[in-house]
Amino acid sequence: MSKQPLIEQLDQAVVELLASGAMPASVDTSIVDLLRIAQDLRELPTPEFKARLRGELERKAQMSAKTVVFRPGFRTVTPYLLPPQPEFVDFLKGVFGAEETERTVTGPGRFHAELRIGDSMLMVGVGSGRTMPATLELYVSNVDEVYKRAVDAGCRQLEPVINAHWDAAFRFGIIEDRSGNHWVIATRLDGHYIPAGRNSLSASLVVTGAAAQVDFIRQAFDARELQRYEWPGGLYAALRIGDSVIGVNEASHEWMRPMPAMIYMYVPDCDALYERALRAGATSLAVPADHDYGDRSGGVTDAWGNQWYMATPL
């Protein structure tokens, strides 16, 4: 018999097989074995999946084999601000006693700066043309002095310095700087001025739907909830990510409007965290890649507009 009818018969049977998943009822015995091969091939893994998984495993193996040396002074989470004016750096130095540890010119009128404030770091990108005012929590040894310096430097007073009604040992005030960032400046009055388990500077997200935001951060970044206060229409939660804390606030009034933030995280395996964030519902901003500034990093954005960059030193 010529092969031509068999080739046609086989294709017709393959069409039926792929449509129904079952072997066709009556086929020429000479092609039964071929159809059985075809039936098994429906479960053939894609070469792309095999290559992708191998790449993931190789990166994971490399990460487990080497000790990641993190940048000295950096915590897991570092807030990243985008002020429009370079004078913002002087503001940070003058009001909060920030120490500039690095400045990299990235273009005409543009630079990336890193500043130490207390036991934490802050990253600043000036001149990008983008602004993204954020809310930060800052623990200082004397809130009244720092608050006054901020107001003298032109900050807008959002909340005067008071002892919190829910915790008399928590003294705080809130200001808005000229770039639109909100600073919750606080001093713990009993014991050390920084509460146990906290650090000097933390990002504090203000979102609509804070409870869902907390769930996302827990899933995406393996965060642990340290505390949560809830009241009618409001919520504040503190979450630990690595050795850092991040706040989440329900947007609840005029100046406490949604303020998505930009976060830079140093982690042992940025690829794994990037994938985890995507699985938790984030959207990719940048696939992890090696960068000439010494980090392998990628980024995602969440449903609330926060931008999360995860990096591993090369």
Binding site: K3, L6, I7, E8, L10, D11, V14, L18, D33, L34, R36, I37, A38, D40, L41, R42, E43, L44, P45, T46, P47, F49, K50, L53, R54, E56, L57, E58, K60, A61, Q62, S64, A65
Partner: protein, 172 residues
Amino acid sequence: MEHEQLLIEAAQKDPSRFADLYEANFERVYSFIARRVQDRHVAEDLTAEVFHHALANLARFEWRGVPFAVWLFRIAANAIADRARKTRQMVDPRMADDLDQSSWHDIERRTTLFQLVNSLPEDQRAVVIKRFVEHKTVRDIASELGRSEGAIKQLQFRALENLRARVGGRDE
């Protein structure tokens, strides 16, 4: 078997050598899972889970003469059962953890088949992947590859004949 033991010991000392164990067992694990979950995306998720778990726990693996794949199948069976619990699906324990001799033979045969696809001539391999993995029609494949529909059907036929000749028949 001795070769496999050496691969395991090498990977335990240097995790970057895990790639050798992965290459030797990928099709085997995927085949085991795909036959049980009947969904490509779920099969991929679970296969990834198995190898990530194996890499993370390789230091605890003790060589006792049993094929490494059996350890991987145990991880896979647990992953399938866990997923079924999470999605509240009934799981047939015989399906999730069926490692008897006949199942083993079937897995090995399909593993060989999947590996042999890579040794097909490139045009036959392309047709197999587009037809059986991507579920494309002969017409679409012909258009993509710039060939006639008759030529694609012929490539499909030759590919299946080649694979049958190399893998042998199936026990029914």
